[in-house]
């Protein structure tokens, strides 16, 4: 940590505001007390045309929603330019990182070392012939998340990866390219349009394998078997990626029939109708529908469309009249109250476009997708009016465009319900921070820095202890389901808390034990050996630098340390009572000064580490609100 002293003093002065439950920052919030929003020793801070600039806690809170973990300099920046300006800057940033390209660059290094070891090898190693493990994706992901300036995009992509779920717990379980190429699609469209994303996902081999429509076939007799289109994707694309099970009002609440029951959006006939659309797709390099000879890297190319199935000609080349049958279904396809007309299979790609349009234009998509995005970033139980405000922007960004994620993100993150916790919402506001996001919080708040700008981290500890890592959910139903609610008051009140589904005795103690490894042992990175002759590079495995905090670890200065990390990690939400619980424990440790009055760095580091451990153990940190 290299925070300057004046800033730290500012936090100390700010400590008296630590218990405030209202968070300020956006100008168009009415009835707020200006003095309370200020953290300046001089009282009122800057007032701009469109409102108040956020204080450090407000900025930290905003960034805890808009990024995978605020960094000190970013917080400073937001206090200076405000949330809207930060959003505008972020939305203008191009996609800056490709996990696939990064994996290829590592593969090239590994191939080079292997070829150096064995220069006479008949067939030299290349990026193309090297098989890599899935950990390379995690390394690329971490590298991208630590070095990319487009941090809002990275936050959004992670949220989308929990809606458009594809997971390595599948037949591509050890293929980094399948994961990387898919994640790159999410990154690419995170600040784009929902419809483009839905189309890109539909034509991505990773999804086709995950939800088993790779080589999916029109209904017909193949090899003596009557085959039917696989219904897997048709079902999940509606249930999970677009409209959900029940008809929704724009505010996300369920519509009801005359008997007060929810109205299903589709039935098995709709699934059967839609399933016919998703037929005739195979690998980019397939010779025929049903060809399965692809390699690891075939996952990085969009699917290829085969109107007919000529597999018999390839598989039984000796036959003079091979069976040539439809690959793509030619019949009409009825679903969601609309019918795609019968078409010759050669025109089948139009069926995909039509089907994606039908789904995209269903009125459920806005509330269904927007509510989940709010839940991933801001709060588990948004008010219907909040969902409505965002869904209306999804339906029309103001320029007549539907599905514009940039506008949706602005609507989510700048909404008054995101920026201000009102008294009446206090009891159910906020969300359990996902275990994985707690980890990214930590490395960002503590400015984990590689001196060479390269990290080698497969993030194994966070998965081993808490079961979460990008693209590694147990099923298409994500790590947790949006409808999950823990027993007790939340369930009784009809509230949800999805992330609680992965909170159990293992992940709970696993979290504290992981915190101990990261902080107490100062071991925040899980090094992965690339193989070949690549050597251990210490620079790729940075530790936290606590030295800038040693001075504040003394009993006398402890309030400064606590305020600083209360702000950085928990945006000042940890109450004075709990700060005192932490203080009591730390004060029982040997103070930082040795008998000569010099700072004992070991004692000081231990104090800082344990302070951070306890802040991150506090329910007020764990629940982000």
């Amino acid at each position: 940590m290299r925070l300057t002293l004046p800033l730290a003093i500012l936090f100390a002065l700010n400590s008296c505001f630590a218990q405030k439950t209202e968070t300020f920052g956006l100008g168009h919030v009415g009835n707020v007390s200006v003095t309370a929003s200020s953290n300046s020793p001089n009282g009122i801070k800057t007032l701009t045309l469109d409102g108040f600039l956020p204080n450090h806690n407000s900025a930290s809170r905003f960034l805890s929603q808009a990024t995978l973990g605020p960094r000190p300099a970013e917080i400073e920046n937001v206090t200076v330019i405000g949330e809207e300006a930060w959003m505008n800057q972020q939305l203008a940033l191009p996609n800056s990182f490709s996990t696939e390209a990064y994996i290829r660059s590592i593969a090239q290094q590994v191939a080079d070392t292997l070829n150096l070891q064995d220069p006479n090898r008949e067939e030299p190693y290349t990026v193309e012939n090297l098989n890599l493990n899935h950990d390379y994706f995690d390394i690329a992901w971490f590298q991208g998340s630590m070095t990319s300036p487009d941090r809002l995009r990275w936050r959004m992509a992670f949220a989308l990866s929990e809606i458009f779920v594809a997971s390595r717990i599948s037949s591509f379980d050890n293929n980094p390219y399948a994961l990387a190429s898919y994640y790159d699609v999410l990154l690419e469209h995170s600040l784009g349009n929902y419809r483009d994303l839905l189309e890109a996902v539909t034509f991505h081999p990773t999804m086709a394998v995950y939800l088993t429509y790779m080589n999916n076939h029109a209904e017909g007799i193949v090899g003596g078997n009557h085959v039917f289109p696989d219904e897997n994707y048709a079902r999940e694309v509606m249930q999970l990626f677009s409209i959900g099970l029940f008809e929704l009002n724009t505010d996300g609440t369920e519509k009801q029939d005359v008997n007060g029951n929810p109205i299903p959006t589709y039935d098995n006939d709709d699934i059967g109708g839609l399933a016919k659309v998703f037929t005739g797709l195979s690998w980019h390099n397939s010779d025929y529908l049903g060809d399965n000879t692809s390699n690891e890297q075939a996952y990085t190319h969009p699917l290829k469309f085969f109107p007919i199935d000529s597999s018999d000609a390839y598989r039984r080349p000796w036959r003079s009249e091979p069976d040539i049958v439809d690959g793509h279904d030619r019949g009409p396809k009825t679903f969601l109250g609309q019918t795609i007309p019968a078409r010759d299979p050669s025109l089948g790609l139009q069926d995909f476009q039509d089907a994606i349009d039908v789904i995209f234009n269903h009125p459920n998509v806005g509330p269904f997708i927007c509510k989940q995005l709010i839940q991933r970033m801001v709060t588990s139980n948004p008010s219907p009016s909040y969902v409505q405000r965002v869904a209306e922007v999804f339906n029309n960004n103001g320029s007549g465009v539907r599905g514009d994620f940039k506008a949706v993100l602005q609507a989510i993150l700048l909404d008054r319900e995101a920026r201000v916790i009102e008294e009446r919402n206090e009891r159910y506001s906020g969300m359990l921070r996902e275990p994985f996001v707690r980890y990214t919080n930590l490395v960002n708040a503590l400015n984990l820095t590689s001196s060479i700008g390269v990290y080698r981290n497969d993030m194994d500890e966070v998965y081993e202890q808490m079961g979460q890592r990008p693209l590694q959910s147990p099923s298409v139903f994500n790590f947790f389901q949006t409808s999950y609610t823990p027993d007790g008051e939340l369930a009784e009140q009809g509230k949800v808390a999805p992330e609680f589904q992965i909170l159990n005795s293992i992940t709970l103690t696993g979290y504290l034990n992981a915190l101990a490894e990261w902080l107490i042992d100062n071991d925040p990175i899980d090094y992965y050996w690339y193989g070949g002759d690549t050597v251990y590079k210490e620079d790729e495995v940075p530790e936290f630098d606590f030295s800038g905090d040693y001075l504040f670890a003394s009993n006398k200065n402890l309030p400064i340390l606590l305020d600083k990390y209360n702000m950085l990690l928990a945006h000042g939400s940890i109450s004075e009572t709990n700060i005192n619980h932490i203080k009591t424990a730390i004060e029982a440790m040997p103070d930082i000064y040795d008998s000569n009055g010099e700072i004992d760095e070991i004692d000081a580091r231990r104090r800082v580490a344990l302070t951070l451990f306890l802040i991150m153990s506090s329910p007020e940190y764990i629940i982000n609100r």
């Binding site: 090899g223 078997n225 009557h226 085959v227 696989d230 219904e231 099970l245 399965n292 588990s380 206090e426 009891r427 159910y428 506001s429 906020g430 359990l432 079961g467 099923s475 298409v476 823990p486 027993d487 007790g488 008051e489 939340l490 009140q493 509230k495 808390a497 609680f500 589904q501 992965i502 909170l503 159990n504 005795s505 293992i506 992940t507 709970l508 103690t509 504290l512 034990n513 101990a516 107490i520 042992d521 009572t577 709990n578 619980h581 932490i582 009591t584 424990a585 029982a588 440790m589 040997p590 004692d603 344990l610 451990f613 306890l614 153990s617 506090s618 329910p619 007020e620 629940i623 609100r625």
Partner: protein
């Protein structure tokens, strides 16, 4: 007073009456006094456990339990099997492990279509358990809301059917809830725990222990699972201490834990804070109890294979071995073993996975014998669904697709073994009235409700509480003295007449 004394005094004062252990002890007293002690007067050896093994993905169980008649006595099952399964069929009937069947037990008028059965070549241990009378099979069992006799019933809109037949997410959930008309139901294991958990002496520790993390099976209204890992031992339960090199490391570890305790025990105005605090407190309480008890785990002579499933089941045995230290008389365990969604390469994949199941179950059964509780532990296998009889491809690529009814295992000393309960389907696509597609998808002959009701009655659920444990049971079974859903379990210990306060559930 030197600095160290000062610290110690402050520390002890701060810990005072709010230490974790004293809090726990107090809770125990309060709950103990208030609890409904349905087993309070029961003998100390009154212990029963249900172990649910979820074979996630939809096991092709028509290659686990195989008709192997070869024509004598009119039972030509193996030829039927080979014809319909084509490239998915095992080829050598003599390599199968023939079962010495005592009886075929039909259900609601449906019986097995064949007399002679065998298990897959890779499952000799199942044959041993079966022939010794400690294992039974359920044939063509699956999710049902009410009985469906044939395709006409299936097509009848007035008959209630499971949601999302053939869908993994629905069927895997419905096997755990036995409420297939709902996507929002508690689990069967959770509901029987709701009924019976108060009877355990130590109600701080969940009676539902999971080796598979959070799951629906064990989720009740009042009880949900306590998750452990299979390498559990006294040293790795709970928080790791601070490094030994720290000054006063043990003491500082206590202080740290105290601080965590204090943080989660605070009163919060926000319900999510509270929910997190409560979760953390109960986890901490449970692992403290666990930690002590685990010191008493005996060494086992039974050796378990080194597979994930066997290691999970070994952990179950170790936890059962300390049931008295844990203060529990009823426990439900949940284990998962996935990878069964074999749309292709089915023959080889089954050769890889079936022996894991067979060997692990045998070792587990042997360990319950070693613990002297073989007749107190009943193990069932469940899976998303059965799979289509016919194949979806050619060569080594071929596999089977999602279907409905399948076959499952029930194992334990109280199982009336050497029997096959249910209605193993005639392996013909055209003529079988329960077949509902040209792929060979069978309407289940037995419902999960009937299996679970039998288990529940054996386990100590009273007949009048069955409607809480199994909301649809009335569609299949109503209790009268001596009349059980299947006759699967040895009920010689009698059944409970103690009714719990829960009302019937309806969906």
């Amino acid at each position: 007073m030197n600095r160290r004394d000062f610290i110690r005094n402050v520390g002890c004062g701060a810990m005072g009456s709010t230490t974790l252990l004293s809090t726990l002890a107090n809770l125990g007293v309060v709950n103990g006094a208030m609890a409904n002690k349905s087993f309070h007067n029961a003998p100390p050896d009154d212990y029963k456990a249900i172990v649910c093994v979820l074979l996630a993905g939809g096991m092709d169980s028509y290659n686990m339990l195989i008709p192997n008649g070869t024509g004598s006595g009119g039972d030509n099952g193996f030829a039927n099997y080979q014809t319909v399964r084509g490239g998915l069929a095992l080829q050598d009937v003599n390599a199968l492990h023939n079962l010495n069947i005592l009886e075929h037990v039909g259900v609601r008028g449906v019986t097995n279509a064949y007399d002679s059965f065998a298990v897959h070549t890779q499952m000799p241990e199942l044959q041993q358990l079966f022939d010794a009378g400690n294992l039974a099979f359920m044939s063509n069992i699956g999710t049902l809301v009410e009985p469906l006799a044939n395709e006409a019933d299936y097509d009848n809109d007035l008959k209630k059917k499971p949601l999302g037949i053939y869908s993994h997410s629905d069927q895997i959930q419905q096997w755990q809830t036995s409420v297939p008309q709902s996507r929002d139901s508690l689990g069967f294991g959770g509901r029987i725990a709701d009924l019976l958990h108060a009877g355990n002496d130590n109600v701080n520790l969940s009676m539902n222990i999971s080796l598979g993390g959070k799951n629906i099976f064990q989720r009740g209204k009042e009880v949900s699972e306590y998750a452990i890992r299979n390498n559990i031992n006294a040293n790795n339960v709970g928080f790791e201490g601070l490094p030994g090199g720290w000054s006063n490391s043990g003491y500082m570890t206590q202080l740290r834990n105290q601080a965590v305790d204090n943080l989660v025990a605070e009163t919060y105005r926000n319900a999510l804070h509270t929910a997190y605090g409560v979760n953390t407190q109960s986890s901490i309480a449970a692992f403290e109890t666990f930690k002590k008890a685990l010191l008493k785990v005996p060494s086992f002579t039974t050796s378990f294979p080194q597979t994930g499933l066997a290691e999970d089941l070994f952990a179950v045995s170790r936890v059962m071995s300390i049931r008295n230290e844990l203060g529990v008389k009823r426990q439900i365990f949940f284990v998962t073993y996935g990878g069964w969604d074999m749309h292709d390469n089915l023959i080889a994949s089954l050769n890889g996975r079936l022996p894991v199941v067979s060997q692990a179950l045998k070792a587990f059964y042997d360990s319950t014998v070693e613990l002297g509780i073989a007749d107190k532990v009943t193990t069932i296998t469940i899976s998303d669904f059965g799979r289509t009889l016919t194949s979806n491809g050619t060569g080594t690529q071929q596999g089977s697709d999602h279907a409905w009814g399948g076959n499952s295992i029930v194992m334990g000393g109280s199982v009336n073994g050497r029997k096959i309960y249910g209605g193993y389907p005639q392996m013909e696509i055209e003529t079988n009235a329960r077949n509902i597609s040209n792929r060979g998808n069978f309407i289940p002959a037995v419902s999960t409700d009937e299996l679970y009701a039998e288990l529940a009655l054996w386990y100590g659920v009273s007949p009048s509480d069955l409607c809480y444990a199994l909301p649809n049971i009335g569609n299949f079974y109503s209790y009268s003295a001596g009349n059980y859903p299947l006759g699967l379990m040895n009920m010689s210990g009698g059944i409970s007449t103690v009714d719990q306060p829960q009302n019937c559930l309806t969906y």
